[in-house]
Every structure is written in C-alpha cells, then in structure tokens.
Amino acid sequence: MDFRLGPASDAFRAEVKAFLDEHMTVELEEHLYRTGVAHDEEFTKQLAERHWLAPGWPEEWGGQGRDPFETMAWHEELQKVDAPTYGFGTTMMGAKIVHKIGTEYQKQEILPRALRGEIIIVLGFSEPEAGSDVAAAQTRAVLDGDEWIVNGQKMFTTNGHIADYAFLLARTNPDVPKHKGLTMFLLPMKQPGVEVQAVYTLSGERTNITYLSDARVPDALRLGEVDAGWAVITQSLQDEHSGGFASRLDSLVRHTEAWAHDEVDDDGRPRIEDPEVRTRLGRAATEVEVSYLLQRRSVWMAEEGIVPEAEGPMSKLYSSEAIERVAQDLTELVGPDALRSYFDPTAPQGGRIEHALRFSLGTTIYAGTSEVQRNIIAQRGLGLPR
C-alpha cells in the first residue's frame, strides 16, 4: 500500500497552487460572490491557456494527458479556494459525452471551443417535477424535418443565462416506460424559444429556470440514438469522479483553525488552547481525512479499472454530510461572530464560515440526494432488497 499521491501529482499540485495564489484573488472571490455567477471569463481563459480546463484529456484535444492523481490534485486545489469552475465543469461533462459517443461533426463543432473555454454547456436534466427521479422528465422534443421542437422547463440550469448549449434530457416518446422514451441533445441556448430566469440560492449562487417554448435543436446535435438518452445520461453521471467535498471541508477547517489561533477568550487566552475547541477541531480534521480517503479511493479504483460497487456514493454521501455536520458544529463553536456574513468587513475569516454553512446545504442535494446515495449503497453495496 501507498497513500501518497506520487511526485507527479505533488508537482502539479504545487503548480496549480502557485497559479491560484496569483489569479484567485480576494477581489475575484468577492466579485463571484456579489454577482452569484459561478463562472469567470478571464479566469477560464487563463486556465485554458495552460491547457488546464481538462488536464486529464489527451493533448490532441487540448488537455495535457495528466493521470487521475494529477487531475485529482488539480481538482482539489481549485475546490479549496472555491474557484469559478462550475461553468467549465458542466461544459466538460457535456464535452466528455461528445468525445465518447458524438459524431465527427459534433466533435469538431464542440470540442475545440470547449477546451479553449469559448463555449459554456449547462446541464438540462432536472425539471420542476423531476429532481432525483430524473427519468421522470416531461420536457418534450418532437421531430420536425431535420430539427426537433422542444417544449418544457428545466430547473437549476446554472450559467444558463450565459450559456451556448444545454446538455438536454428530453422526452421523445411518451408511450413507452419512462426510461425508454428519453433522448439527449445539445440544445443551442441563444435562440428566441429559450427564456432564462434567475433563481437565487442560499449560498448566494445564481442559478436559473429555463423555459423552452418551441425551441429548436438540429438533429445533428442529438447525442446518441433516439430514445437511448437514459444510457447516455447514466454514462455521464458515472463519469463524475469528483463526487466529494473533502477539499471544501478542508478549507473550512483551516479557516476555523486560523480563527482559533487569532481569537482570545475573556481572559485573554487564545481560543486554540480551550479543550472544547481542540476536541471539536480534532474531530473536524478527522472528518477531512476520511473524506479525502474515500474520495481518493474512488479515483484509484477507476485508475486500476476496478469496477465500483458503491464507493462513489459512499464518498459523496459521507463528505457532503460531513461538511454539513462540521459547518454546523464550527458555526456554533465560533459563536455569535459566525453570524457575520461573507465579505462583511467585521466577519472573522472573511465570513467564510458563514458562507460554508450556506454552501453545505446544497451538497447533500445536487448530483443525487443523500437518500439516493443510500439506496445505491444499500442495494448495490450491501445487496439489500429493494
């Protein structure tokens, strides 16, 4: 056994860190928070210039052919500083599917621009009436010549207001069981039939609801076979190895540690010397370690070609609940001052503890709620009956 990520991973981590020290400024952090937009054009361009939007991709497609442990280090460092990755993150999810099953036309049309950071693809899976049960999607697509006409609503289309495409799940056959009548498309977003309305969330992030009224998508931008959308979306969700929040949790704990070193109690004694503070920080640090281990194990398994049972869901479940648990506990530990908001000038640690509490609530919901993860672990991991 060896728990080190290896010299290549360590070296790349140092490079990414140095980049972030320079480009992920407090001003940018505040700008992202104030606008609520989880994407920054200039930052994305800087990453793209270094071929760092998808460092694990082959060089011919604009990546660097980095191994999974290098890619993981890259991902962890970006996550630690809450860098604006969501725009190119969802773009690369779409691009990955295009790379895997797309036509030659789709590859040429999408991939070079995606890897240069010139287009944004947003996720169009969820609907007002279909969240965890994503296959219940009602958005209809009907073929009209060589185009599909799309009507319906998509929820949580984050970055939809600045997007070029939606990675869209739509119902193409309502007369068969729900999983068998779905098709995936890359729907052009900049057209009259697409209306994007802002939805504001607890963490300050702006997401959207997208209304599709006779929106059009050429058949040439259909991904996979008609009515085979479920297989496509399943592949896409399986590819999400980043299912964990270890580094976000890590930075929360580090900020609280810094607070405990700076702050003194009524007798002038540093809070870090209080046994209660030490117990709770020791526990939180342990949760960080476990989250990293579960997350890295999934990556290691994928690299080794070991077929996972429920290791991905375990990582997602554990680390998301850990960040909720720890954010709540450390908020109480810090006390009244933890109420001071993100970027309020009076807030300890720039209000990042307050922000972490807000942020934590989404983690157990998106990309499969904790309940969905538990079902997978129980059925696939433990073999319990449905």
Binding site: M1, F3, D267, E273, G282, R283, T286, W300, G383, L384
Partner: protein, 356 residues
C-alpha cells in the same frame, strides 16, 4: 497511490483468518468470557509468530511491517478473539526500543515464558486502572510520572469484571502489597517512549475496531435480509437500509484511515501520531454506531445473549474505552496539529504555549 495489499499480505491475512475461524468461533469466544482469555488460541497464535512479527530480526523477531500488524489486528476484531495480541505487540516494540533495560523481558515475551502487557493510560495516584490483559499477564509496562516501569503483576492486581468481558485489572504500585517494578526509562524520555507506544496501540486498536465494525455490519445485513415483517424482508425498509448504508460508508472510511495510520508508522512517521489518534477515535465511533444499529435491527433477539451481535457491541466499547472517550483522542489530534497546551495549573494567567 496504491490501496492494494501485497500478495504476501494477502497470505498473512489468510493464515490468521484460518486460525481465527477455526479457533475463535463464537462458541470459543463465549467459553472464554469468564477470564477474557483463550490460552489455547494464544498458544496457536504464538506458533504463528504473533509477538515475533512485531519486532525486527535483530531484536529476535521477524520484522513484519506495522501495516502487517494492523491487518492482523483487523482479523482479531472480526472474530472478537480473546487474546492479548495488540498489548503484547506494543509492549514488545516498546521493550525493544528501551535497549538493555528491556532485553530480559523482551526475551521472555518472545519465548512465551512471560506475558508482558502495556498500559495505555499512565498511573493515577498509585494505581494503574483497567489495564488491558492486566488480569492474565505476568508483567505490565506502565508509565508513572517520569518513570516507565516494568511491573510484575502477581500480588499487585485486582481483576475487574467488565462490560466487554476483557481480562482487565487495576494494578497497585507502591504501598505494602507491591514492589515498584523495574525502571526501564526515566525523565522526559520515559514520557516520549510511552507516548509513541500509545500511538502504536491506538493504530492497532483502530484496526481491530474496524474488524469489529465490519463483521457487525455483515451480521446486521444478513439478519435484515432474512427477517420478515408485514410480508417482506425488513432490509427493504429504508428506515433500516439507510442506516446500514451509513454503517457501510463509515466502516470503509474507518478502514482506510486505520490502514493509512498503520502505513504511516513506517512510511510517513511525521504524520503517524496524528493519524493514529484520528484512526482510533473514528474507528471507535464507527464500531460503536455500527454495532448499536445492527443489534437494534435484530429486534428482541438483539437483546438476547444467544445472538452474537451483543459480543461485538460490548467489545467495541471495551476495547476502546480502556483508553478514554473519543474526545480524549481528538484532543490528541489537536496536540499534534497545534502543539500541546500548558496545563491549567502552570498556565497562571499567561498565554505562553509550550512547544513540543
């Protein structure tokens, strides 16, 4: 990163699984409950080299890696085996590190002539309390103030019946009943030597607790697949399956952390102490919760002595709590991360931190 055991480690596990399966069945565990010790199993483990593996060839052993010790400890936990494997391994390594002073005791331990245990908690007043294997060992390595002692236990011990059916004893030092034992080390080195042994004891106990948790989860899962209520297996109810899913994630996390802590002893010593305390606390909390859930899901049968799950429930608590509650271990994590704090008595209004 490589999370696979080597082929040699797989063989090592197999050898111990074979022995424990045959000689630490639930019947044998129950038969040993009165004393907390199974001498026949202990003799067989001695033949496999349970103590010898813990020290190097120079020291008279065969120098297994610390990770090897942990994967063996995990098997002890799975079978809730009534043997003092961890205590003697930790004692052997400690005796080997103190040089000539420990040589005779180490030799006796390796030949099987003397059973030497290790007290993870220092002496309070004039007694070492709830010493693991204290009721069956010949000697114990105990820290008293700035002295690390080797204490003969005959006449000094009071066996203690306990929740986990462990061979525990309170040991009296000094006073009319006992000699004070031999001083192995004194001064600050004594505390440091003891501290390092506590780290090792924690890392191995963490692995044993992982074994307890893993087996208790299997017992629970098997039961809820079979047991029917309202016409269906109770494992299909989410009120049950979701909590077992929590158990599964926690056991996997605890195992990875225990392995990492054990691996670090040889490969990343600068983090070994911090990871050992983390692994211990997390493995305890996991084993505690997993055994509770699996016991509870047995319904009334879980409350019966006849079912095995209670064996796991009790040992999960006993094996860890002879050291202290998890908060204690988490403060040890903090000591490693932030440096120790001056005690309240010496603090006297200043905020000076003791570096260490």
């Amino acid at each position: 990163m490589d999370l696979r055991l080597s082929a040699e480690q797989d063989q090592l596990v197999e050898a111990f699984v074979g022995l424990y399966t045959k000689h630490s069945s639930p019947e044998r565990v129950r038969a040993a409950e009165a004393t907390g010790f199974d001498p026949d199993l202990w003799r067989r483990l001695g033949e496999l080299g349970i103590v010898a593996m813990a020290v190097t060839e120079d020291q008279g052993g065969w120098g297994a890696s610390f990770l090897d010790l942990a994967i063996v400890a995990e098997q002890q936990g799975r079978h809730v085996a009534a043997v003092p494997a961890i205590e003697t391994q930790v004692a052997a390594r400690l005796l080997a590190r103190v040089g000539d002073a420990g040589a005779t005791a180490l030799a006796g331990l390796l030949t099987g002539d003397r059973l030497v245990t290790f007290a993870p908690r220092p002496v309070r007043g004039e007694r070492a309390l709830l010493v693991p294997a204290g009721s069956i060992a010949d000697d114990a390595v105990i820290l008293r103030g700035d002295e690390l002692l080797l204490v003969p236990l005959d006449g000094a011990r009071t066996p203690v019946e306990n929740l986990a059916s462990m061979p525990l004893a309170d040991i009296a030092l000094g006073g009319e009943h006992t000699g004070a034992g031999t001083v192995l080390v004194d001064g600050p080195d004594a505390r440091a030597a003891h501290d390092r042994a506590v780290d090792e004891w924690m890392a191995l106990t963490a692995a044993a607790l992982v074994g307890i948790g893993a087996r208790a989860l299997e017992i629970g899962v098997d039961y809820v697949k079979e047991r029917k209520a309202w016409g269906q297996a109770i494992g299909s109810f989410q009120a049950i399956s979701h909590r077992l899913a929590d158990s599964a994630a926690a056991v996997d996390g605890a195992r990875l952390l225990a392995y990492e802590a054990a691996w670090a002893v040889d490969e990343q010593p600068e983090r070994a102490a911090e990871l050992a305390a983390m692994a211990f606390a997390f493995a305890y909390e996991t084993a505690r919760d997993v055994t509770y859930r699996s016991l509870h899901f047995h319904g009334g049968y879980g409350f019966m002595m006849e079912y095995d799950i209670q064996l796991y429930y009790r040992r999960a608590r006993g094996w860890a709590n002879v050291y202290g509650d998890p908060g204690h271990a988490y403060r040890r994590v903090a000591d490693r991360r932030y440096g120790p704090v001056a005690s309240a008595a010496t603090h006297a209004g200043t905020t000076t931190r003791v570096e260490g």
